[in-house]
């Protein structure tokens, strides 16, 4: 039996409270750290997210979480980025000016209105949207327990990410928004699993059951 030790990175944005409670459903061992120096090795790392790209990325660097993330990727520690926590994993973001991200995903983060001819007033994209499987036959895709409705609340999203990294999309009018992206041990989700009811908790359970090197263990 694996009991995950979960570390949530606090970079001054977001709804830490809800993410913390959601993680507590799967482990007693959940800690929130606000600087790299507070880190003790964990089985899973979560980047929570409500906030703006520029603020989040500068706080991440200030708190040396970029170093933590890079070294954890080398050790293949599963990392989950939620919403803005997903955005900062991209190469570059355009929210409140142009800012470089952590570059784990070869994508740009742009305002949804730049991506399709839609009425700007319909942004932010808020609410429950069904996620759709992309034409991606990879094993990682099949391993995910993601289907049905998830809760979204955002104005910016991934563009130009090569298809093999996109495992799920949310279709909103003319927009196809990358909803789940994965590269190695790093997963990014545009929706909020901590706000997506039973589907969100099922997704988190699966994420915490997957250990390093994709080894799987059941959480009792």
């Amino acid at each position: 039996m694996l009991i995950p030790s979960i570390v949530i990175l606090d970079y001054g944005v977001g709804n830490l409270h809800s993410v913390w409670h959601a993680c507590k459903q799967f482990s007693e061992n959940v800690t929130v750290i606000s600087d790299f120096s507070e880190y003790s090795p964990a089985t899973h790392i979560v980047l929570p997210g409500v906030g703006a790209f520029n603020v989040a990325i500068s706080e991440i660097r200030k708190r040396r979480f970029d170093e933590l993330i890079n070294s954890s990727i080398k050790e293949q520690t599963p990392i989950l980025g939620v919403c803005i926590g997903m955005h900062v994993l991209a190469k570059i973001g355009f929210e409140n000016g142009e800012n470089s991200g952590l570059g784990i995903f070869d994508a740009e983060v742009r305002h949804l209105s730049e991506q399709a001819e839609i009425d700007e007033q319909r942004i932010p994209h808020i609410g429950w949207t069904k996620v759709e499987t992309t034409n991606n036959e990879s094993q990682a895709n099949n391993d995910l327990e993601i289907s049905g409705y998830f809760y979204f609340a955002h104005s910016f999203g991934y563009v130009d990410l090569p298809k093999p990294y996109i495992l799920r999309e949310a279709v909103v009018g003319k927009l196809r928004i990358p909803a789940v992206v994965k590269s190695g041990s790093v997963t990014g989700v545009q929706f909020h699993p901590e706000k997506s009811g039973a589907n969100g908790l099922r997704f988190l359970r699966k994420f915490f059951e997957t250990g390093r090197n994709n080894s799987e263990q059941k959480i009792s």
Binding site: N15, G127, A153, S155
Partner: protein, 231 residues
Amino acid sequence: MEGLRIVGDPNVLANKYYESAADEIVFMDTVASLYRRESILKIVEKASENVFIPITVGGGIRSIENAKQLFSRGADKVAINSAAVSNPSLITEIARHFGSQSVVVSIEAKRVENGWEVFINNGREPTGIGVGDWIQKLKGLGAGELILSSVDRDGTKKGMDIELLRMVRDRCQLPIVAASGVGSLDDVVEVFEQCDVEAVAIGTALHSGAIQIADIKNAIQVNGMEARYPC
């Protein structure tokens, strides 16, 4: 207070509705200006422990500090009514700090001779502002959603004010949560069929047990519309 009746513990009800497939919980602190703010903060904090759907909180939010406190305790959105009328820049300020998705403008509309008037303080105080004018003024301020209530229908279970909802829908592209007046499954189906609103908020009819969430969602689906059920 006059006109108020205790229907149950807010946290017990929130859990119950979460378990029965509600899509969102809205806590409206109707006596916020009269009592301490701490009570609503505790309710929100407790709810966020085991209610894993969006939580919106309204009532008595007058400053960015009020909003910040609620977000830090687990609220996902704040709904502003009175303070939005007296200080519209508060909407912009909260949107800038926490994002548009976190700011909901709550409108309490009451029928008057030539349309509808905006009321504040839980439907007790007229403002002299027409609802249509208020909708125009809100454009570009940064709100992410509207909760539209009818002072005339609130708590009556006599059906929603369809004309009001249509009028606002025609003037506004923001997502609309229709509130006030639902008494039956037909009322819910009617509003979705006729008003193109994104969601319906129900209080009295659920608290009294007149209708159940599962039946509502089933009725929506039976009538050929989409609902998150089973979820």
